[in-house]
Symmetry: C2
Subunit: 254 residues, 2 copies
Amino acid sequence: LIPALVKLDQHATLTEADRSAFLDLPVRCQTFKAGGYVARQGERVRSVGVVLSGFAYGSKVTSNGARQIISVHMPGDLISVQHAAFRKATSSIQMMTPGDVALISADDLDALVAERPDVQRAVWLSTLVDGSIASEWVVNVGRRDARSRIAHLLCEFATRLKAVRSDREIAYEFPMTQEQVGDATGLTSVHVNRTLQDLRRNGLIRHDNRTVTIADWKALTAVGDFQAEYLKQDDVQAETSRHRVEQTALSNGR
Amino acid sequence: LIPALVKLDQHATLTEADRSAFLDLPVRCQTFKAGGYVARQGERVRSVGVVLSGFAYGSKVTSNGARQIISVHMPGDLISVQHAAFRKATSSIQMMTPGDVALISADDLDALVAERPDVQRAVWLSTLVDGSIASEWVVNVGRRDARSRIAHLLCEFATRLKAVRSDREIAYEFPMTQEQVGDATGLTSVHVNRTLQDLRRNGLIRHDNRTVTIADWKALTAVGDFQAEYLKQDDVQAETSRHRVEQTALSNGR
DNA sequence: CGCCCATTTGACAGCTTTCAAATCGCGTGG
DNA sequence: CCACGCGATTTGAAAGCTGTCAAATGGGCG
């Protein structure tokens, strides 16, 4: 649970007791293959998840069979929190790549946060960031053309993966197929393909297989109309938090 | 703040002490005219709001000048919670109609929820519902055609306004201009106009001025691919909560 | 080496946008 | 009480971005 704790620690000031109480939560780790369901829309939900490795995504399917990806979850992210809160999955969550997810009983988490307001606040704020990302996605699919939508998605990934280093080429593992990019941006895989080629021809990105490299960050953020503020990842604070968290983890033998 | 308390009470079991502590929060009421800004994107935010009357909406503007409405807020809704949590507005919030908003200092709210985990949970869960709505909007603008998008929006309004009564025509005040409907659904006002006419010609709705009446709820939900579960408004519980809340309010003289 | 899934390509259709311009609705001032 | 003014609604024609439908190509894994 350490990667999740690092993220939580960014959002609230947790005490050592808070941190170890969180780390002491009983977890059930589960390994999924790509495409495996962590939750299915409509099902009863009894646990929240923490992505330990790999990528996951949330999606809904419309009555005419189209799929829309509504969220992407990276290692350390809490998933299914909204589902667990109401004990019902309002969307499906699947693995985008093979990976491991730690499952925490919703009852256990409820009990923990009822006892520890700062932990509750940290989890809460992490869900608020998820909401902020969702809002930006509404803008992305609602008001941007294909070039911008895809550019924006690539920028979001780079930022969330903390792959952005000033004045250097940015490269990262990009786990989505072109069809999934289409499902996330409200486009067809065919058009994603053509748009990706266009981005490549213009020297903004390169991509071979599963790795994307952003050749011109400034230009790509301009095309994608990307401002990172909505992700509000305070990296400085994250560094200090990681430090504190690792000490906690060591002292707890995890 | 009573309407907000009613909504919060749906999400957690609050004690009398919780309720009166919430109602005792210092508030500053402010009257806005239509179009007035409750918050501007990028600004520092020091308070959360409660819509007392009228409708509000959140929006973002893209670099090429297009506006996307990302949320609609109705009387009783908490607004700007995400902004207040990070003390910064990541979107603008404006009134859609003239109305009153109660402003609560973010510091005061932070202090309250730090003391009262159940209140924090209630506020948290209300923001999770907002997130659920935002996710559904991603689906709406990403994967549905104009007819469905608009039908879905009308269904969402009817449900959130609790205007749905079985086997009867549904009528409610609809505060959005066609341009705003376009901004919410990712369409142009011109196309919204044509699509509304289409919906009307097909006998699904009628609309004069600011009031919409849904002539065929079943058909409109089918066209809009609308399932109300994601709004998870438990009306039964809401009724009992309202009862409790009004007692609290009376005993506090509000 | 072969199968399967992801990527790529082409031609064409179609939903939505664009750009004006006309009309309507309604609050305001005369 | 009626004219005026401005924003909202309507309408038309044409352009455009994106989708659809196949079919070919490519790449990775058993």
